[in-house]
Amino acid sequence: MARRRATTIPKGKNEDVRLMAALAAVGVMSIVLFSVFIISPPATIGPNEGELAPDFVASAYNGGGWEDFRLTDQFDRDWTAGEDGQFILIQFMDSDCPHCWREGETMSELHSQWGGKVTFISIAVELSIQGHGSDRNEIEAFRDKTNYGTDSNDGNGCNSGGSNCVERPGSAHAWNYVDDYNLNILRDYGVTGTPFMVLLQPDGYVAWNQGQSGGLMNIEQALQIYVEGN
């Protein structure tokens, strides 16, 4: 009668160690994350009041040409409340939006009043609405109030393609117009329609968001309260 040879293949442990391994891995990750939060706590980024405004890099038209523009280059990180500093007004606009067309004059007036204390930035978007087809030439014409398009409703020009951009209400604008035709900045700021404004403190934190004011405060009041301090 043949004898069976004893097997020498090692067997695994009786208990399942996978739970212990998972706990150990989670423990390592938790310790590491906790250390990061202590050493360098994350800032809350977002478009809401009290949050750090989302940064962006995009091309901007400054009247002379298109150049790279980065929002955080405008920030004064050392600024503290009560100090003098340059606030930042971000306006989202579409050169074909009739409300933005009319707001052109308001923006001119605001800039002549607050331009010394507030940096103005217009974010030019193209909403997916019929007649809102735009290009950089239209942004330039809208900003500079120059001849672009016709007065007939043929789709060429500003204000839903129904107006020559030279007729935009208000004076020519003397601040950066940022190209956001890919709508990345619009999405980061949670903007659903134009015109839309956000006022930032000099250190980049959102002081006032039009969508959060619930209609109780307009931009003139916000500038008076946050920039002027009364």
Binding site: G12, A24, A25, S40, D55, T72, F75
Partner: protein
């Protein structure tokens, strides 16, 4: 070329982790049987831990860049410049998650897979975990490839190379090699 990193203690610690892991991986070539198994698993563990720690440093740099505009851990000019890479708002997150956080999670998963093998190398599920490690590290390599292209082509003022990110990328490559060697070793019945 910016060589400030070579006097930065945190960078040197991470580099030491990477070199130790690589040494273990290379050293395993001369071994057989369970000794080789243990060395390869330890090497994979070391790569994943180095990856977690490096990702944590890049996450800390990201937080600092966002809130202060600078980080004391990295320079902001020249070809080797982590500030220009981690500070680029267009590419420093994926679905609003900083890459450092994604790195911690990814390497954490790899750590779990190899740690469980280290705790019980003869369990029935070891082959499955080796396969998962291999597939996960292939996904990791695709991400590393994408990030290297971003560094060299797409970030503001490209090309730039982030030294800390490179340590994390090399950890991923090292893990991939260890995972591959472990699978082969298992298949050869020399476990």
């Amino acid at each position: 070329m910016n060589t400030d990193y070579l006097s930065e203690p945190i960078f040197l610690v991470l580099l030491a982790g990477l070199l130790s892991s690589s040494y273990l991986s290379i050293n395993a070539k001369n071994q057989t049987g369970s000794e080789r198994t243990n060395t390869l698993v330890t090497s994979a563990l070391a790569f994943s831990l180095t990856g977690i720690l490096t990702s944590a440093v890049t996450y800390a740099i990201y937080n600092s860049m966002i809130s202060k505009g600078y980080s004391s851990l990295c320079s902001s000019n020249g070809f080797i410049s982590c500030a220009d890479v981690i500070g680029d708002p267009s590419f420093n997150t994926l679905l609003s998650l900083p890459w450092g956080l994604i790195g911690i999670s990814g390497f954490g998963l790899l750590l779990y897979l190899v740690l469980s093998i280290r705790m019980d190398p003869h369990a029935r599920w070891v082959s499955n975990h080796l396969d998962y490690s291999w597939y996960a590290s292939i996904v990791g390599m695709i991400i590393v490839g994408f990030l290297i292209i971003v560094e060299l082509v797409f970030v503001d003022g490209a090309p730039h190379i982030c030294a800390y990110c490179t340590v994390a990328h090399l950890s991923m490559i090292g893990f991939l090699v260890s995972a591959h060697n472990l699978r082969e070793h298992k298949a050869n019945d020399d476990w």
